[in-house]
Structures are given as C-alpha cells and as structure tokens.
C-alpha cells in the first residue's frame, strides 16, 4: 500500500487545485474555458475520492468517484459545450453586483470565516483531524464561491456552471465530514443532470433572442409541429 503521509500530501495538493479552479471560474470572462475548468475541477474531486479510498478503504468513495467521473467529467461538460455551440456565445463579460476582483477578495474572507466557524463546531465530531477539517472548509467555500458565480453572472449558462461548482462543494463537504450512503450521492447527481438539461434548454431561449428561440427549440426536437389537434 502507499504510505499514508504521501496520500495526505497528495490530497493537500489536490485541495490547492480545487481552489485554483474555483478562482478561475469566478474570475474568467472566457465562457468556453469555464466548462473545461469545471470538468477539471470534477476530475480533481474524483482524484480526491480515490485518494481518500486508499486512506479509508470505504467502497462508497470508489463508487462516488466512478459516478462523478462519468456524470460530471464527461456527460455534463459535453452537454454544456454542445449548448454553447448552439447559442454561439464565447464570452461572458457582464457582471451583476460584483466584479471578479472583489469576488476573489470576498471568497478569501469567506474561507477564513468558514474556517473559524467550522473549527468551533467540528470538534464535537470525530472528524477533528486537520485534513478533514480542511476538506470541510474547502467544501463549504467552494459552495459559496459557486453561489457568487450564480449571483454575479448574467448569462444563464454561466449561472448553471456556478451551480454545478456549488454542488461539487457539497460533494467535497460530504466526503470529508461523514460517510454518506451511496444512494444519497447518486440522487443528488440525478437531480443535477435533470436540472442541467432543463436550464440549458431554457438558456438557449434566454441567451438568444426570442424569435430564434422557437427555431432552436425545433432544432432540439422539443417542439413538434403538429397542426391538427
């Protein structure tokens, strides 16, 4: 087996990767790369799950890694990339309330606050190990950073990506705080897929003009031409 210290070291490096991807999603104006960075973030999550598995040996983590890989590294990014091609928007330069710099500063503050808050609550649980505390803090931070993306972006498709990144945070938090049964993790992914499909289809409508919308719905075979009753 691999040495525990090395695994812990790897997980710490992966934590840094997660922070970098989250910061990138918050600050970039290039829409196309957001999707690939999201896929990368999910892949990092898969790697964390596998490393945790080698540490704890719980089979659930392996299952989570597998499902995450297929759903969030392959299917969802592929689907969103297809939609992006349809709406032909490459850049998202409009921001509400927060511009990228202030969101980055805010997320740093948030991380500190969450760290202080969680380190007060968590000692009541067995997860007092510093690695697990960091995982939990990072999970919540990722979630709040995703939320900032959803609130500060105007394009629906970027909002969806913010939401997805939030959900990655929840998954991370769940992995480090407790051992959730696999079925729960699976349910949340089903929800995610349905939500992504619906919002993506709708964002075709919102991110383009209304006249185009109907044409495009026809392209997606969502509206069938049926003239008779």
């Amino acid at each position: 087996m691999i040495d525990t210290a090395i695994v812990i070291g790897i997980i710490r490096i992966l934590f840094v990767c997660i922070i970098i991807t989250a910061a990138y999603i918050i600050s970039t104006r290039n829409l196309l790369s957001v999707v690939s960075v999201y896929a990368l973030q999910s892949l990092t999550l898969v790697a964390i799950a596998i490393s945790l598995f080698s540490l704890e040996g719980s089979i659930v983590l392996l299952e989570i890694a597998l499902v995450t890989f297929f759903s969030k590294v392959i299917i969802i990014p592929y689907f969103i990339a297809t939609i992006q091609e349809k709406i032909r928007i490459k850049r998202d330069i409009e921001f509400h309330y927060l511009n990228p710099t202030s969101s980055l500063l805010l997320s740093m503050v948030l991380m500190l606050v969450i760290y202080m808050a969680l380190s007060k609550i968590v000692p009541e649980t067995p997860a007092h190990n510093s690695l697990f505390l960091f995982g939990a803090v990072l999970g919540i931070s990722l979630m709040l950073m995703g939320m900032m993306v959803t609130f500060s972006r105007k394009r629906a498709i970027t909002k969806v990506l913010g939401f997805l990144s939030m959900e990655n945070g929840v998954l991370l938090f769940g992995m480090f705080v407790t051992e959730l049964p696999f079925i729960i993790e699976f349910l949340i992914i089903i929800d995610l897929i349905i939500l992504v499909i619906l919002t993506a289809v709708l964002s075709v409508g919102i991110d383009s003009t209304l006249e185009d919308y109907h044409k495009r719905l026809h392209q997606f075979h969502l509206l069938k031409d049926s003239e008779e009753n």
Binding site: E124, V177, T199, G205, N229
Partner: protein, 493 residues
C-alpha cells in the same frame, strides 16, 4: 401496494397523454389521474389504520402518517380542481396563441409527473428522499412556468430554479450535518425521520442548531419566506393561472412541510428555545415585507402571490410559538390557505382571459367595467379576498384568530406588530379591489369589449372550492379536527 398503484396510474396517464393529440383527451386524463389519486388518499384516510404499513411503506424509505396523508389530500383536491379548470383555461391559451399546440403534450406530461412527485415527497420517510423529490418538483414546476415560452416566463422560471435549487443545496448540507449527528449519537447514521424523532433528545444541540438553520434556508426558499421570497411573486404571476394555483396551494406547502418536520425534531431538544425566536423574526419579516409590497401593488396576480408570502409568514410565526394549540391552527391554516388561494388564482385567470390584451403580467391591470363583463370572477375575488384576510365565516378567520391568541400569550409586543402588519395587508387587498373594480370606461367607448364567455369547466372548481371553504368554516367538521389532533400528537408537540 399503495405506492405502486400511484405510480401505475401516473404511468398509464403518461402513456395516454403521449398517444393522444387532442387537448380535451389529455385534459381528461389529468383530471382522472387527480381524481384517482384523491380517491386513493381518501381510501387511505378512511379505511386504513394510519400509519399504514404495506409493501415499501413503513420501510426506511417511505411511510404514510397522518401529516403526509393530510398534505396529499390537500394536493389531490387542488390538483383535481386545477385540472378541471385547465380544460377551459388552456383552451383559451391555445386560441390566443400564448401556448403552442406543440407544447401541450409537454405541459400535461409535466403536470402528471408533478402530482406524482409531490405525493412521493409527502410519503418519504427519509429526508434525503424528501429532498430529492422536493427538488424535482421545483424543476418540473419551473418547466410549467416556462411553457408559455415568453421571455418573461423563462426569466421567472430561471429565477425560481436558481434561488430554490441553490438554497436546497444548503438544505442538503444541513442533512449531511444531521446524518453526522445521528451517526455520532446512534452509532449508525440515518436520515430516517421516524428514527430521528425517536432519539432526538440525545442529539447535541450545537450541531442540531447548525443543521436546522441550513435546512431552514433550503425550505424557506421553497416556501417563499423572506429573504428568499423574491422569486415567488414573479413566478406565480407569470405562470398560467391553473399552474399558479398549484404553485401557491401545493408547492409552498412542500417547503412548510419540510420546515415543520425538521422543527418537530428540534422541538424534542432544548435547541428550540434558541431557534424559535429566529423563526419568529423571519416570520414577522416575511409578513412585513409582503404586507408593504401589497399596498402599492397594481397587478392582481402579483398581489395574490404576495398574499401567499404573507400567509407563509403567519404559519412560520405560528410554528415558532411551539405550543400544540398553535401547531394545530397552523395545520388548519395550511388547508384554508391552499383552498382559498387556489380559488383566487382561478378567478384571476378568468380576468386574465378577459383583459389579456392590456393585461401583461408586468403591467398594472387595466380592469374596467368588471361587473358588466365578469361579474362572477369579480364577486369570487371579493369573496375569497374576504376569506384570505381572515373574515368569518371563512376558515382562515379561526386559524388566524387562534394563532394570534397563542401569540398574545407568548408576547404582546409581537402580537401588536403582527396585527398591524395583517391590517396593512388587508388594506392593500381592499384598496386594490376598491380602486380597480370601480373603474368604468366612458359610456361611448367601452362598448367594444366583448365579455369573455367563461366555460363551465372554469367556474365549477371555483364554486366547489368556495363551497368547501364555507363548509369547513361554518361546521368545523369534528372528524377533520380529530385528524389534525392526531398530526399534532404524531409530531410530539
């Protein structure tokens, strides 16, 4: 077996909707589905010993207890009425081109699925299952809002999805906390409500408070509680009226139901003494914000939507009092609010058909000559308006009166603020009715408007609902009261 029969009925309905191309057939299928669901729920309530144990029910995933069944009964009644109403209403939408024929199948399929998901949500014993069903109801109902494919509808649907889903993720984190709490206290982690209820007194209060607050954020957004209510007026105002009735009468209950279930667990520990003031504050703010927003409101559907927000606030304050009597009347308020609000949205829909050209969902209503053109809808709005502000003999009078009595026993100051806010809300509603319903067009110009002939299918559900409200309000059926008592006992208040 009972759960399977719910699924089977829905699958058959979906297949029938997929096969047919006729609007009336699809609609009939939906009415039948809701009726069969209602019959099943009534059968369960009357003949079976609740909590029911049968295949899958009573396992760790599903259960049927008094509270769940109560919510299902309300949901099926509202759905039956709304489906009947949709027969005439959707026909109108098709004629005016607001709804495309091609979207019809999607509309009714989503409708059928929504009812099934709601029933399953109320029958889930496991919080994670309840969470996923609640989340799916958000997605499906957002689809029903966006079905009109107008840009403002898609906007409203988006706002709804994002605010509700993001908050629901917080609720999920809350459930992770709860799972960890139970794992530490009981040895094995569980999200099973009955088990959690049984051992709730062992849970550490600090973690439980954190868990409750997170879960509260999620379900507060689902039920339109301040500060997460911002999606509600737009979504409810822009949805087709048949859908608005469901959103307001059934889907808001899903959120409140989640909060009550979670609060029942917290109530077993001393954590509730910390949380009750917090809930009271949120409840008061909700009532306050909605009351103030109602005053200048010129759009009928938005006004009715804000009144839903207000009622959710009242329920929250009632829950925070945490006495059995208060909880009893909160449950009573849930029924009364659902029935009243459905009838209000139905009549608002009739006005929407009448004045649709000048009646964009954003613009102020240009209602003129209402008593000449739509006397029926006008009188129903006045009647149900009286019902919603809590006038006797309508049932909301009793629930609000007794909740206020309980509140007065807890704190006179809060009672004073609450009464003032309720008064402002009533003034808002009354002012709207007085100003818009008395507008007359000039004698020589007004004659070009043809009265919209309301189909009987749109009138019957409204009359039924008002009749039901009067029966409940005047007779206060003792069986129903006994039933509500059992819910209070089950929730261990």
């Amino acid at each position: 077996m009972i759960l399977i029969s719910f699924v089977l009925v829905s699958v058959v309905s979906l297949v029938l909707i997929a096969v047919t191309r006729n609007h009336r057939h699809m609609n009939t299928v939906c009415i039948m589905q809701a009726l069969i669901f209602a019959a099943l729920a009534v059968y369960l309530a009357l003949t079976q010993h609740v909590p029911v144990f049968s295949f899958l029910v009573g396992s760790q995933y599903f259960f049927i207890d008094h509270f769940g069944l109560f919510e299902v009964l309300i949901a099926t009644v509202i759905f039956t009425c709304a489906a009947t109403y949709a027969r005439g209403y959707v026909e109108g939408l098709l004629e005016s081109g607001e709804l495309e024929k091609g979207s019809l199948k999607l509309f009714y399929a989503a409708w059928t699925l929504l009812l099934l998901l709601i029933v399953f949500a109320f029958f889930s014993d496991n919080f994670a299952l309840f969470w996923i069903f609640a989340e799916l109801t958000t997605v499906i109902s957002a689809m029903l809002i966006a079905i009109l494919a107008a840009r403002e509808n898609i906007d409203a649907a988006f706002k709804y999805i994002f605010i509700a889903s993001i908050s629901m993720l917080f609720a999920f984190v809350g459930f992770i906390f709860l799972f960890e709490i139970s794992r530490v206290s009981l040895g094995t982690g569980t999200l099973n409500w009955t088990v959690l209820m049984q051992y709730a007194d062992r849970f550490p209060t600090g973690m439980l408070i954190a868990s409750f607050v997170l879960v509260f954020i999620g379900f507060a957004a689902k039920s339109g509680i301040f500060p997460f209510h911002t999606w509600l007026p737009e979504a409810h105002a822009k949805a087709p009226s048949a859908v608005s009735a469901i959103l307001s009468g059934v889907l808001l209950n899903v959120g409140i139901y989640g909060i009550i279930r979670m609060y029942a667990i917290v109530h077993q520990t001393i954590a509730f003494t910390t949380l009750a003031p917090m809930i009271t504050v949120f409840g008061l703010l909700t009532v306050g914000i909605s009351a103030i927003s109602m005053l200048p409101q010129k759009n009928l559907k938005k006004l009715v939507a804000f009144s839903s927000v207000e009622n959710m606030g009242i329920m929250l304050v009632g829950l925070a009092i945490s006495t059995p009597v208060a909880l009893f009347w909160v449950l009573f308020q849930i029924v009364a609010h659902s029935l009243t609000k459905a009838s209000m949205f139905f009549s608002a829909g009739i006005l929407h058909r009448q004045y649709r050209n000048r009646f964009s969902s954003d613009a102020p209503d240009d209602i003129r000559d209402i008593f000449r053109l739509q006397p029926f809808a006008a009188w129903i709005i006045i009647l149900s308006g009286l019902a919603i502000i809590g006038m006797p003999p309508f049932p909301l009078f009793f629930s609000e009166f007794f909740i206020m009595l309980q509140l007065g026993a807890a704190s006179l100051w809060v009672l004073g603020i609450m009464l003032l806010l309720l008064f402002i809300a009533s003034v808002g509603l009354g002012y709207f009715v007085l100003t818009t319903f008395t507008q007359m067009s000039e004698p020589d110009t007004g004659s070009d408007i043809e009265p919209y002939l309301t189909p009987a299918s749109m009138k019957v559900p409204i009359i039924f609902l008002i009749g039901l409200l009067l029966i409940i309000g005047i007779f206060l059926p003792s069986h129903g009261m006994e039933y509500l008592n059992q819910i209070v006992m089950e929730l261990k208040f």
